[in-house]
Subunit: 202 residues, 2 copies
Amino acid sequence: MYSDLNISEFTQQLQNTNLDFQTKQIKKNDIITTYIKNRNQICILKKGNADIIRYDKNGNKTIIETLKANDIFGEVFFPINTNSELFVIAKTNCEVIFFLYDDIFKYRNALDNIFFNLFLNRTIKQNIRIELLTKRSIKEKLLSYFSFLSIEYNKKDFTLPLSYTDLADYLCIDRSAMMREIQHLQKENIITKNGYNIKLKK
Amino acid sequence: MYSDLNISEFTQQLQNTNLDFQTKQIKKNDIITTYIKNRNQICILKKGNADIIRYDKNGNKTIIETLKANDIFGEVFFPINTNSELFVIAKTNCEVIFFLYDDIFKYRNALDNIFFNLFLNRTIKQNIRIELLTKRSIKEKLLSYFSFLSIEYNKKDFTLPLSYTDLADYLCIDRSAMMREIQHLQKENIITKNGYNIKLKK
DNA sequence: CATATTTTGTTGCAAAAGCAACAGAAATTT
DNA sequence: AAATTTCTGTTGCTTTTGCAACAAAATATG
């Protein structure tokens, strides 16, 4: 999309640095990687096609992302969440370069690092959004959102940073249907609510 | 999230470069920017909160992204689509730094540029995904997806790069409901379909 | 501080989407 | 090339979600 990418040239450049990386061949239908908290892997798909997928408790498969040659992926980009294990599956035979975030980070200067981090934070934020939007019901969307807030604030009770009207717009659902679902969550004793204050009861 | 961001330090560093940028104060509820094709703006929100929003033809507002201090945004990250004009609205008084992609790009060396582009392409890809997932109905999700393929291939007819089963997983919808909707699109004469071949009739 | 505007909370009803099931086609494996 | 597996196409039924509407509460504005 933006400018020319030449991964094989890039790979050659890599050889001339001290940057640690590994290249692997992966067979069709095999697992390229699973996202593991704190490993902070960054991968580049050099050849082939792959999917980042998740199965939820109802057995629904979600394709989180489809990957093709030159795509970058890895748990660095994904805020790992207890409820979901992510797999990257080779759809065809693949060639993959594996890095660690910290190794790449060392290779950058001060001004670059700021941009690097702004990009990284942006992509993590987008992934949170995608994680919410891929949930199949209003209830799951809400619970995932509350769970993210709970992790962010490191508390079981927190104040919504959004009005309910805005929250519905953010989750792309009908506000009245959302309010109904919040009532259900209270009746089922999963949350308590007091104005914008939400408490997760588990 | 990853490492320490210090935007005011960053701003000072910027003063010592020849990088072109502008800083503006924007009042609450004012429009910070609209996304305009080919302007390739990159912005950093230095202070305040803002939303990236879209109104669809039914008047549904969608919050595409919520922005807070240190967040990066701009049309560089968004594949602009004829159906949707995006606005960035200040939720509080804001201070914003404006750059152009090309100016920032000049400031980077060869190895960096590859990573820079990989990041950029990744974020664009995520935005496409978010764009699809924020659509309110199966019909709109399908039409948006077809529209993206049509733009990517630069043709009104194209072959799906996914099975129908996978497409449903990608769009997070039920396969049978999706097939039913594809039938409707054919009956309404909006598309023709022959196996994995789709033609947009407009 | 009185008035206007926006947001919340709620409901009955309509529409959309999901679920289950299965036959036939296509693709893959042995 | 036969057998197995996966995918498509379809349908009736159920559940979920959206829509419309409105009163009460909260917030913003002159």
